[in-house]
Symmetry: C2
Subunit: 152 residues, 2 copies
């Protein structure tokens, strides 16, 4: 188990030149509550099952296990809806920004996340970072399934 | 993933001499619905995460993964309630009966399960088998947490 401390920001896409090597992610939720979720994710050639739990969005317990790809497909079939996005990794200083470009019903949404060692840690924000949305539950992937970006 | 075809019976404990080598099982449910559950189980020295899904109690999809023991303890702490039981394996003909002797709030309940290759398969029932409860959802472990045997 790892405690996950993440900050999440919107992106000004005109200022961010995306790298070419994005990884396609397909994910669904067997259970999807902001406080407790079970995610199935296919990331390129690998597949993972992830339990996230905790009331503080910024700081949740995360349990992740790699699972066989055939299981992942069967488990995704049990999910009501799926999220598809392309993830780009952008190294900067000693951090790596994860930039998610959403597709499907969340087309148009681009979000950047950074993982920190503590919630007090100060970071230098790159110029392509827009407003912070860390504490806004509507940007959680579980929420984006229920209420996708194109409906906002 | 495996399709799990199980039949479940009550046991006449006066006719069943239990073997000495039972394995203590501690399990809890992160989510517990008869149609869809996520179980955390500690079985002796090993720990497992199991997703069961399906509307037919007799025949459910089961996805099971071994997880680290430390994760299992942390995940069990997220569960509202736990079930403790001792499992005995009793080989008979080409089958192995799993006899679960429940403890705690389900003390007094003893259930025998047999896994079959198809739901049409005929089996010879040993003399210590009592009534069949395969289709009774109150004997599901998820139900025994909500409504334990001592309250019946």
């Amino acid at each position: 188990m790892a405690i996950e401390i993440e900050r999440k920001f919107l992106v000004n896409k005109d200022l961010l030149p995306l790298p070419n090597d994005g990884k396609k992610l397909i994910q669904g939720y067997i259970w999807s509550y902001p406080q407790k979720s079970l995610r199935i994710r296919i990331a390129g050639e690998k597949a993972f099952l992830t339990i996230k739990a905790g009331n503080d969005i910024l700081k949740r317990s995360e349990f992740e296990y790699e699972i066989p790809m055939t299981d992942a497909h069967e488990l995704l079939d049990l999910c009501d809806a799926k999220i598809e996005k392309t993830r780009y990794l952008i190294p900067m200083d000693s951090y790596t920004w994860e930039v998610d470009v959403f597709h499907g019903d969340n087309q148009g949404l681009i979000v950047a996340e950074i993982e920190l060692a503590s919630s007090e840690e100060q970071i230098q924000l790159p110029e392509w970072i827009d407003q912070e949305v860390s504490n806004d539950p509507k940007y959680l992937n579980v929420s984006l399934i229920e209420n996708p970006f194109i409906k906002w």
